[in-house]
Assembly symmetry: C2
Homo-oligomer: 355 residues x 2
């Protein structure tokens, strides 16, 4: 079934069918109704390829999740809670706007999936998130005019075809730090991810700012440890190393830099036989479902995932439909501190050493 057949059945020309389809004004009421009836009757939908060919933008957005190759024994980051939630919201919002979302996991070696989808005009725009995008790729995408939203990748938009949206990483780090300080802690540690990540740097900076403002200098050599940001094992290993290193004088509070790390941190603390919050208070950055079910449930500070999805998708669609905007960057303002029972007030006497 194509527009010629519809035209024949409705006794009009293909042109008129097209006009009806696209809601052009210059069609008489009678004709319009006749055509619409035939269309409905035959369950006709215009061919997307043909439409796309004559120049119309298609209604497809690409969602690219950057992911390093997974080690065989562990989940890929595309299976971490934040991405799950984000994808679900993004699909929903995309659909509500009459678009469809095509999601792709991008590994280091398959970077040109992004080029392929743009150059073949399979998508009209894309959102990139996850692991850090390298500078070369970014410069290429920017130069080629791909309409993109970058999430937590860089701070400022480099070109009018690229919109930047970021989590309020600094504020989340700061609120987490402030809460621990407020409960009287002074020996406060932080485990986080790869420092080439914008989100890692900003969260850490916010965290340090909170401590410094309270007159507690943050001793990085002692209280900071790195692990893979988007792996549970990253949190586990970093926490183990950090507590091991400080085993003679343990910190009384710890902040995990990401939700995924938080779960690893939780397990590491438990496996070392320490109690939360009696021995160590724990807080994380980012929300996770699992944090509700641990015992104790874990406190977190987070930005609303739905807001992020909404902002990224809606701005991208605007960019596509309006052609180009002045370079712009957004930070989602609302940050929420969710207190559960993983933080206790610091008893000034330190808990001393434990293995």
């Amino acid at each position: 079934m194509n527009s010629s057949e519809i035209a024949k059945l409705a006794c009009v020309s293909r042109t008129t069918v097209s006009r009806v389809l696209n809601g052009h004004a210059s069609v008489s009421e009678g004709t319009r109704e006749r055509v619409e009836a035939v269309i409905r009757e035959h369950n006709y939908f215009p061919d997307a390829a043909a439409r796309n060919l004559v120049g119309k933008q298609n209604k497809v957005l690409g969602l690219f999740i950057m992911d390093v190759a997974a080690t065989s024994d562990e989940y890929t980051i595309s299976r971490s809670q934040f991405f799950y939630d984000y994808i679900a919201f993004a699909i929903d919002i995309t659909n509500r706007h009459g678009y469809n979302l095509m999601t792709t996991i991008v590994h280091e070696d398959s970077m040109d999936d992004i080029d392929r989808l743009f150059q073949s005009r399979s998508i009209s725009g894309g959102i990139i998130m996850g692991d850090h995008l390298d500078q070369n790729a970014l410069a290429r995408f920017s130069a080629r005019g791909y309409k993109l939203v970058l999430y937590n990748q860089i701070r400022r938009s480099p070109a009018s075809n690229i919109i930047v949206v970021n989590y309020d990483n600094f504020k989340c780090g700061r609120l987490a730090g402030e809460e621990l300080v407020r409960q009287g802690h002074t020996k406060i540690a932080h485990v986080t991810g790869e420092p080439n990540k914008l989100s890692v740097r900003d969260r850490l900076e916010g965290f340090e700012t909170a401590l410094t403002a309270a007159g507690i200098p943050f001793d990085r050599a002692r209280y900071l440890e790195y692990g893979a940001f988007n792996r549970r094992s990253g949190g586990y290993g970093a926490t183990q190393r950090l507590l091991q290193r400080n085993r003679d004088d343990l910190p009384t509070a710890l902040c995990a830099g990401s939700a995924t790390m938080l779960m690893g941190t939780f397990e590491a603390i438990r496996d070392l036989g320490l109690r939360i919050p009696e021995d160590i208070s724990l807080i994380g950055i980012d929300e996770v479902d699992t944090a509700i079910y641990t015992s104790p449930p874990l406190s977190v500070v987070s930005t609303c995932c739905e807001e992020i999805a909404k902002l990224t998708v809606v701005r991208l669609i605007e960019l596509i439909e309006q052609g180009s905007v002045t370079p712009c960057d957004y930070v989602i303002p609302k940050v929420t501190l969710t207190l559960r029972s993983s933080i206790s007030t610091c008893k000034s006497g330190s808990p001393g050493s434990k293995p």
Copy 2:
């Protein structure tokens, strides 16, 4: 950049470019290399729309998650753990086969998103899962020849364009029941979802079979309760009602029909002040990440999600590429019982009543 320009630059005809692009044999080595060099140099990818227009199937699969309208205060099923995991695996497998996955949440009122995407030839095939698809829609899809995989929707394939893949619902139900029986329980309850769902019926049937085989008649009126299958609140409410109804003589073991319900059941039991497994042993059907972090961690019986994703995606691609297959239905054979500490051996003396 199009094939004409590439042709000009490589001093050949568009036809030759096309031949190189599609790996046809009859191109001399020299020509092929020259053309490929130009293609690479100009980062050229053939226009997907034009390709699609001349008849080639595109490389896009649709994933349709049927979801009833969400009540404002609760997650949609598209945010339940199983779908999350499935989507992540499905994207991965789809990409590995050179296809892309377009995911859509289908609400009752927007059923014709499926028609639209097929009729506009935006996708070459689709997978349908989630809430129950109504008979009319199914008949329509079948008649129109949409290439589809139905997951946990119906038992038998109705047509050669429709492949049926099911979880081993019966076996999962049976193993869950058997485990509770093995631990000596006789007062065993079951909370599950809408009985119009294939998965609900089969799980329940398997569960009853296990009990009956052990000489324990299953008293549905007493020990069975329904709630929304894909809502945490469904598990919560059903469990509350069931325990309330039996408050004078509580069951000693309970099986939740889905992972999502399981978490609601867990909360309901906890909120009633009962202990797991001392007062009630708990097992669920389906795996969830959260079940690992509860205390105690929850036992589940499940079929491997990755297997399901692999089977659905790979079979769909075969169907697309081979045109049509004889109607076929698959059940994933491997079922795993994951014992954590939520089940205890039944002390023959019943725990008696508790509010």
